[in-house]
Symmetry: C2
Subunit: 273 residues, 2 copies
């Protein structure tokens, strides 16, 4: 039974949003809605226009017999700025201050609405790059990796500091923890990353950059390629940071344990713009 335009638009929108970066053929929609390809094509023009106007993302049209449409999620700059500013306020809440000058983030990184925005923002940063996998380190990086991977629609892999039976054979490397200068070990399941994969590293927090540097070594070990590094928050680091080329959403500028204040500003991704 032929489906009305209004219903087609609703279901089409839902279908595309759930499959970012995936090519969907016009024929698929034509069959799904028992409608002519010309009508589907008109529908898609409206979806494309609305997505663009509302900052939802780009609907790419791939011409030809094997063609179709591909939804590329994006976040509008104003929406991203607003979110980052809101996060600056949230991160500055004095009761987040932990002994040693650490900042409590676990509540934020367990909040689905926050993770959706973080995922969209980081995915938007890498729109022009081909990415095969998102890499992070257990445990607190996982929610960020998953959020980003959901918008890029590529798998994420989890590097661990402790080996687990359920990972099978692993490749391990030693790395120097940047802030404490201890040598530690991290490992990744051998089958989780193919040679030549283009990898995006994400993490929740970066101080000295040692952990991220460890992941870089792992990527080399797997003969894969590093595309970029983005962290949710970085802290100003007095020592020699091991990583130069990264982006951050937030920067913890100053922590005063005495006065119980935390000062947080937008990260370098926003500063350079």
């Amino acid at each position: 039974m032929k489906v009305k335009r209004s219903e087609r638009l609703i279901d089409m929108t839902r279908y595309l949003l759930e499959r970012p970066h995936k090519l969907v053929s016009l024929t698929y929609f034509a069959n799904r809605f028992d409608s002519a390809k010309s009508s589907i094509s008109e529908d898609l023009t409206i979806v494309k226009k609305t997505f663009k106007e509302r900052g939802t993302g780009t609907l790419e049209t791939v011409p030809g017999a094997a063609g179709g449409v591909k939804f590329i999620p994006e976040i509008a700059k104003t929406e991203a700025d607003e979110f980052v500013n809101e996060m600056c306020i949230r991160l500055s809440e004095p009761d987040r201050l932990l002994p040693g000058g650490y900042v409590y983030l676990s509540d934020l990184l367990g909040e689905p609405s926050i993770l959706r925005q973080v995922g969209k923002i980081i995915a938007t940063q890498y729109l022009d790059q081909k990415i095969d996998a998102v890499m992070t380190v257990a445990t607190k990086g996982v929610p960020i990796a998953q959020a980003v991977s959901s918008y890029l629609n590529v798998p994420f892999v989890i590097v661990r500091r402790d080996s687990k039976i359920t990972e099978g054979s692993t490749v391990s490397i030693n790395y120097v923890s940047g802030s404490s200068e201890r040598v530690e070990k991290m490992e990744l399941s051998k089958r989780s990353l193919k040679r030549g994969s283009r990898v995006l590293i994400v993490d929740d927090f970066m101080k000295g950059g040692g952990t991220v540097n460890g992941m870089k070594s792992l990527i080399e070990e797997f003969e894969a390629e590093l595309v970029g590094i983005t962290v949710f928050a970085e802290s100003t680091f007095s020592g020699n940071r091991m990583i130069d080329d990264y982006s951050s959403l937030l920067c913890v500028d100053e922590v005063d344990i005495r006065d119980k204040t935390i000062h947080v500003s937008p990260g370098n991704y926003y500063k350079t713009k």
Copy 2:
């Protein structure tokens, strides 16, 4: 500027899908689209009908001045069955077999399209229940917890076996690992769960049920309430399982290390239906 119905439907669908279980007022949409409430109301009737017909979920209408609509994501039974059957095949792939009879799952649990379906299926199981938080244990449960929490739109909390500075004060309990009968420790950041919270436990794999039982104790320790337990996969367990009341999506019935075969069938949630 007044927005056309077709564009309203697209943006409304997107807006609602991104905010499950959240009450959105008609006024919000009326302002967003510079349209009369009566038109918005008609739009929502179309969205509701389409969501229902396509198995996307329910659009609940809350009447009154403080009213509006709420989108409750669901998965259609046929789609869930199809997914579970597909997972039975994927899990049975002989190269997933690890020493000790374990089954490699990390690739599946790093695949966004799989996590979306798992999230929807588990969220659908608890449609009628009030849930305040999803709980899991690091590391492999995290992707499942995040997927479920995204569809329920409630936070998730991560129980850890190792304490981390960045968690602040924690509450810890000892538990008996069901399969190995060792006594182990798990802990949860004190501030991550409010007293009286209604908690859903999820995990990737259950054998003896010791880990899940540990999380149950932690919930008691926090004076919170257990709503339910769902695991992605369980394995048939010859010993005395510590947990009775749980649901599983998949069941690893038999693992033959000699012949390198794994037999997987739908979990108890599907068997009882």
